[in-house]
């Protein structure tokens, strides 16, 4: 039996919603098939008031083991570093986070807010939000760069806005079944199994990307969303087109650009008007090119790809 505690800081509950919709495995499978004991969760926990405090105190004092500490949302430090804006069970949430992270065998940050601060930590960051071990790209965050859980791992970051349901439950199962040490993490402490390939890997529009045929409106069933609509698929690490959403689709399959929500900079461009859903260019050339491609190579590639593009690339090939 692995004890799991899930707390929520500055967040919209999106990752909770995502978790409750998981299918492979589902939140119920965690309990029935994988022996995970969900001690408390914002939508599932029964304890209130003093009873909840008792439970939390039993964990922080070591009286009850805490195997997996899951945190959703930012660590709120406002006002002036006190954390009083986000009180929980009688004290600032950030104080519970410090104490629980010390006794947890594994600490898992779910969603962009908990990993790197996400939307709440975007300038001017009025809630003085931080992620557990990062603030955007900067290592450290609330727990500090040196933090390791009792099992010897740093915070396991499962980013996304929200994270895909199955990324959450599969990581929780890996940890609960003693395979935590096998998890290999990238430089941002994301499990490599999910975050090595790109959103573009498996995108149905790859042929249009190759032949430089652009989608010019949302939902168009031909064309790639990179050239005009700001798709970040070629530079975002996520398995969104390998592990589909609701088992059947993804943003790019539905004709919506990837917004890069698994990367520390999300939301890009501080949400300034005209910067979202629009490819940012400088003198007509995209500012962010696919990872590993330079400007002159890109221009040469475009000329060649356009000249070679077949007639069908200009038609809607996903005919119903």
């Amino acid at each position: 039996m692995a004890n799991l505690l899930w707390l929520q800081g500055g967040a919209c509950s999106g990752n909770t919603m995502s978790f409750l919709n998981a299918e492979e495995p589902s939140a119920c499978d965690l309990v029935t098939d994988f022996g995970i004991n969900i001690l408390w969760h914002p939508s599932l926990g029964l304890e209130l008031g003093e009873n909840l405090q008792k439970l939390l105190n039993a964990l922080t004092s070591g009286q009850m083991p805490l195997d997996i500490f899951v945190f959703e949302g930012t660590v709120v430090n406002a006002p002036k570093g006190t954390g009083e804006w986000n009180r929980f069970a009688g004290r600032p949430m950030k104080d519970w986070v410090s104490d629980l992270a010390k006794v947890a065998s594994y600490t898992v940050a779910i969603g962009d807010c908990a990993t790197w601060g996400g939307i709440p930590a975007t300038a001017p960051n009025p809630s003085e939000s931080q992620g557990l071990q990062f603030l955007k790209r900067q290592h450290g965050g609330y727990l500090g760069a040196a933090y390791k859980s009792k099992a010897g791992l740093p915070v396991i970051n499962v980013p996304g806005c929200p994270a895909h349901p199955d990324w959450i439950t599969q990581i929780v199962v890996a940890v609960a079944t003693g395979r935590g040490a096998d998890l290999s993490l990238d430089e941002f402490q994301r499990p490599k199994t999910f975050f090595t390939s790109f959103t573009q890997t498996g995108c149905t529009r790859n042929m249009h990307f190759a032949y430089k045929v652009s989608a010019t409106e949302y939902g168009q069933r031909k064309g790639c969303l990179f050239y005009d609509l700001g798709c970040r698929g070629p530079m975002t690490h996520s398995p969104c087109n390998r592990i589909l959403w609701n088992r059947q689709s993804s943003k790019t399959r539905a004709g919506m650009p990837c917004m890069g929500c698994t990367e520390p900079e999300f939301p890009f461009f501080d949400l300034a008007p005209g910067t979202v859903f629009k490819t940012q260019t400088l003198m007509g050339v995209p500012k962010d090119l696919p990872q590993g491609v330079d400007k002159s190579g890109y221009i040469k590639l475009t000329a060649a790809a356009k000249a070679a593009s077949p007639a069908w690339a200009e038609n809607d090939i996903f005919v119903v």
Binding site: K278, Q280, T281, Y298
Partner: protein, 103 residues
């Protein structure tokens, strides 16, 4: 359809060959300026070819030291010889250029 496009293409080519002065400069350096040109185009009657050419800054030859042309532009559909930018939506030649060029 094809012949109709051919006729429009020819009338554009004629206007440009006859020295129609178009707003080639300034090139929209960033998205903001690009969006401003699109806004002007959206206010036109879609059939008003001449104004599209003027505001779009059309040329019937490549432009600048990089010899930018419709052929490399992301809006250019090679087989239809067509500019697919919704605000323009006109037949074009691969060697033409306009200031909404993007790659």
């Amino acid at each position: 359809m094809a012949s109709e496009n051919g006729a429009v293409l020819k009338s554009i080519a004629d206007m440009l060959a006859n020295g129609l002065k178009t707003e080639v400069e300034p090139f929209p350096e960033t998205d903001k300026e690009f969006a401003e040109i699109l806004l002007q185009l959206r206010q036109l009657d879609p059939k008003d070819l001449e104004s599209k050419l003027v505001i779009g800054g059309f040329l019937d030859h490549p432009y600048g030291p990089d010899r930018q042309r419709c052929l490399e532009c992301m809006y250019y559909l090679v087989h239809r010889r067509w500019c697919d930018l919704p605000e323009l939506s006109v037949p074009v030649d691969p060697d033409w250029w306009c200031r909404l060029w993007r790659i």
